[in-house]
Symmetry: C2
Subunit: 672 residues, 2 copies
């Protein structure tokens, strides 16, 4: 590249972009780790975007009607941190850049949501940002339909690299965005032809322009270092009703000795090469030094947004008080006050009616209560709507012709669905839930982990949660999934036993602010075990005594979900033989673990033999079988230690030995 | 559709295809569950493929040079079972079809590898089959380069549905196949425009023809019910040097009242509608009745293959004895005899040299020993070759210009890589291994679970296995992954402590026949803890005493991987204070659990306080902390209970309290 020509053609632009490049070089050198090349390659695009288009207010980073900027290529985090520092976001001072990748800094190796104002989502695992962005754009469309374009009218801009586009989840995102004609979504592809292992063509020869066009996108190809071309492309993208992809031909590590090489992808720390690059840029300042006029130029960019924000605020205050309150409540992730009473009334009615129902069907009934009073819910399923029971009549289907619809047909895209749901929560004002078979959490793990890490309360409606799925067989039967979801920090896995617990689990999910919830729901019908109404949400304690022993307490049976009724039957058998048996329902062991010790001891006192029953693997139950203080416990587990099989559900429970008889025998064996 | 016109245009073909359709209807009706529409829609394509092209021998289902047929749309399993029955595969008798989806039958809800001859891979989780097929085709290319086209020269045919193509993993497969110009791969797309939730366009408007062409595929669009068009398309696909996609416009549930509807996707069991469909087909036989001439026509198809197989056998016997032995050994998944001695010699040398090395670097050294003597290994990485240390100099890079290369640049495609590796093992004659960061097993879970379920010994080289990854931060730091991989049945997770254990772990992986292996390897350098050479593979016992207590045994420290040296340091501290401390290295707890009880008790005797140390979550360790018989144990865990953070690795181990000092203090606290 002829750096000198770039400098002279657009000197003001050049210096602003060079600020990103030099801050990146300096921070990576200070950390002695990181990724230099991507921010250096995309500095021109980012500069034009921020200077001419992005509507943001560094003094009010969370202004709801701001444009969103998502760095899907999260390894290029110094691009984002530079932008936040240069434009003057609160808390992103120069020291943060100097502490890049150090303990306690806001400037983690990859952008972490919640660390600093202006980080819209956590990226780094490739493809996640572009897949989140579909959710951002959907949330924006739905809210524009509800509140009007005076209140909600902004864009989602994304920078994605070759890594993002090679990940399968990107195809799910591209397909979904194309179908829904998300015209406010604009993706810049950092087309630098470099990956870690070499040039892109050692692994892929895909014509990305053609690929995006195949899914209904508007595509523009430009020189990613030409500010005029970048500006024109953004204007064209804004005007087009389709989602737009701007293919930006760029040079990774522009102006550095490692330009256009794989080495340029990583940490460029050689002092002489760094010096040479800065010289080529015409940059005279020392490390982390930004000329005052350049910094002032960057800070001025936020002023456009600040003015727009003030105008927006005036318009917002003209909304009815009810609308304002609803809007603010949804953005605060507050449940409406009437949710609690509605759930309570529903529980009371169900305890009286005591229906035998699959918990997935129970879940649909709960949603029938919830969705009309929580307009921020956005339902959906990865092509299993009838099986996941996720759709209620009032939602309407989200489509280009019906932007107010609150139900998404995600297609056969579990990963894309999970990522989009995260994007909706991150956008604000939305509380999404989405369904698939629990086994296919495997496909969505990449995004489900990020829900937990980002602390966003996405709700996963995972039905067919055991061998109770039956004939579809072991590929569709979760066995290890409860254990692996429970192993994930900050994830609450609720496996309700009946319709009352299902309502309680939903209440927990819908009031969560920082924790994703997985609702593990049965395919098969389950009897109601909570026939005595309790106003209190017992499931919110994680585990509780469902039925106590009559006579001397010799056995405690612990179970979740569909096995709670198995435990109750086993209790009948044992009590009939004079063996005092307590049944503990454990809908969520993570929440139970958070209860105070005295409560846990009351529920699980030392002494009696313990048997856990769950149609999954034992891992995870050992902690409750052991007893908290390491006291001697006689313990057994009734569950799975292999994959399932294809047969009717009843047969499977018998063949795998998960019945009341098996349970009572396991208990009696411990008492010998 | 004008069924009558189809019948009269090609009456012989029609009856053969109708046999698939009626068997499907009968089996689904008998099971009262299943998926009728897909086999009914693709019966014509399958019939032409089998009758005119597929080279197979039902009497020798595993003939290495057969064509492979992969039903990626696995829910249409009755298509495959019908084909296997009609052509006369051993064991697939009529009773199996009558027992569709019942306990113990070979005819599971979705095709299960190993259940019946002729099932090439387990499908059902969508997208897996098409992604496996890339591995099948790569294995074929590599073996053709090695053995010549007289010995290896066959094709991989796939039927994929809209579900397969919407799953992100399909894009990874399409990109990989296009790049590698896998001309022997031919995919039929069942373009029926129907998914479970409705017509495809409620979720996707992608132009699939354009999408495949964008990745370098040859595409032909045909009427999927026209046998002449199908035949011509297959011939054209065979001739084209690119991978081919045949877009087959079909009618789901052809000829049934539910044709072209979502209902047609599922179980069609209404007796009157079934009767009407059979009448439309001109089918007069009762349930499961196939006219003798139709059955004979199907059985004749295998004869072409049988003849080809006999000719192949003659050619094979002309290979040198060495080549034959090598070929047969690789297909039997037998390690070469000299592997054991080579590993032993390597271990001896390393015990003497005792290098401090990251286990990922140790792994590269082991591969330097292994790859030259096991020509069936196929290495690769999802764009982290230098970090995963998966490439050795002798492998050569697999490319269109170098079909003999044994190293695959998979690109940023963890899921596609895992699925392709499964395909290579299933193809036969190959032992693939592939690397990524351990955290990104999240992206590959869908295929890793299938390795375990199918019992194929794919090896996953998962480096950067803890917070030891350092600055890249929590998105890249596995915390729960050891637990979740261990929770998966039939998966061996080896986390070696040093270079000697790394060699032992590789030996376990390379001699496995029915179990996938995950090698969890450190980014950071680890001291050698096995300085005393033992010829025996101690890691093959899962856990063993690395250092015993001096004096009275008061404490047992258990650890894996990078924390074994932490445990050894903690032992030094404790022994210096007169506290007798045993260190148990636990490279693979699944294998340890398989040892006989007396061995396990010798390693972990009751009595001493137990402390487990691992830079991951506790779940999984409770079983060893508890003690097998529920005896009282004083126990503590030193590890993670949250996500990690971005900082240098040393800082992270200190901040999260995973050091020798923390460990010794935890032990001492138990002794109070």
């Amino acid at each position: 590249m002829d750096i000198a020509a770039l400098r002279t053609a657009h000197p003001d632009h050049w210096m602003k972009a060079a600020a990103i490049r030099t801050l990146t070089l300096d921070a990576v050198a200070a950390a002695n780790s990181g990724h230099s090349g991507m921010p250096m390659g995309m500095a021109d695009v980012a500069t034009v975007l921020y200077e001419k288009h992005l509507r943001f207010d560094p003094k009010d980073a969370n202004w709801p009607d701001r444009d969103r900027f998502i760095l899907s290529a999260g390894h290029g985090s110094m691009l984002l941190y530079s932008l936040l520092y240069l434009t003057g976001y609160e808390g992103m001072d120069l020291q943060q850049l100097k502490d890049f990748r150090q303990w306690g800094a806001k400037t983690a190796g990859h952008p972490e949501y919640g660390h600093a104002a202006g980080i819209e989502t956590t990226t780094g695992p490739l493809g996640q940002g572009i897949a989140n962005s579909v959710g951002f754009a959907i949330a924006e469309e739905i809210q524009r339909a509800r509140y009007g374009k005076n209140i909600v009218n902004h864009r989602t801009y994304v920078i994605a690299g070759d890594g993002c586009l090679m990940e399968g989840v990107s195809q799910e995102a591209i397909g979904l965005a194309g179908k829904h004609e998300l015209g406010n979504l604009i993706v810049f592809w950092d087309n630098n032809n470099i990956t870690i292992d070499g040039t892109v063509d050692i692994a892929d020869k895909t014509d990305q322009v053609m690929r995006f066009e195949a899914s209904g996108w508007h595509v523009i190809s430009i020189d990613g270092h030409d500010p005029e071309a970048i500006d024109k492309a953004i204007i064209a993208a804004q005007k087009d009703p389709r989602p737009s992809m701007v293919a930006c031909k760029t040079h990774i590590a522009l102006g550095h000795a490692a330009q256009d090489t794989s080495k340029g992808h990583g940490a460029l720390t050689d002092p002489d090469q760094l010096k040479a690059a800065k010289e080529a840029y015409g940059w005279t300042g020392g490390p982390f030094e930004i000329p005052a006029d350049v910094k002032a130029g960057w800070e001025a960019m936020g002023e456009r947004g600040a003015a727009a924000r003030a105008e927006w605020q005036d318009r917002f205050l003209k909304l009815s008080g009810t609308k304002q309150a609803e809007f603010n409540r949804a953005y605060a992730l507050e449940a409406p006050k009437k949710l609690a009473s509605a759930i309570r009334a529903f529980k009371k009615q169900m305890a009286e009616e005591a229906p035998k129902l699959a918990t997935r069907a129970a879940s649909e009934k709960v949603l029938g209560v919830v969705n009309p009073i929580m307009k921020e819910t956005i339902g959906g399923s990865a092509d299993l709507t009838g099986s996941n029971n996720t759709k209620t009549a009032d939602l309407g289907v989200f489509e280009p012709e019906n932007r107010g619809g609150r139900y998404i047909y995600y297609g056969i895209r579990e990963h894309g669905m999970a990522a989009a749901m995260n994007g909706m929560v991150l956008h604000g004002g939305a509380r999404p839930y989405g369904g698939t078979f629990m086994c296919f959490t495997d496909y969505a793990r990449g995004s489900m982990r990020l829900s937990a890490l980002m602390q966003v309360p996405t709700t996963y409606v995972m039905t067919h949660d055991s061998i109770g799925l039956g004939e579809d067989g072991p590929t569709h039967q979760p066995v290890e999934h409860l254990a692996l979801l429970r192993a994930t920090p900050n994830t609450h896995v609720f496996r309700p036993a009946d319709i009352v617990e299902t309502a309680e689990a939903w209440e927990c999910a819908l009031t969560a602010k920082t924790t994703p919830h997985v609702l593990a729901l049965s395919r098969q019908g389950l009897p109601c075990v909570r026939k005595e109404h309790k106003a209190k949400n017992l499931s919110a304690q994680g585990g509780y005594v469902l039925a106590d022993a009559e006579g001397k307490r010799q056995v405690i049976l612990m179970a979740s979900g569909s096995e709670v009724s198995v435990a109750m039957e086993a209790r009948d058998i044992l009590q009939a033989e004079g063996i005092g048996t307590r049944v503990v329902s454990m809908p969520c062991m993570e929440v139970f673990a958070e209860q105070d010790e005295s409560y846990r001891k009351r529920v699980l006192p030392g002494g009696p033999a313990r048997v856990a029953i769950e149609a999954g693997v034992r891992q995870g139950w050992d902690q409750w079988l052991l007893g908290e203080r390491g006291r001697e416990q006689k313990a057994a587990f009734v569950g799975m230690d292999s994959f399932g099989a294809s047969a009717p559900a009843g047969t499977l429970f018998e063949k795998f030995g998960i019945t009341a008889k098996d349970t009572s025998e396991a208990a009696k064996a411990l008492l010998k």
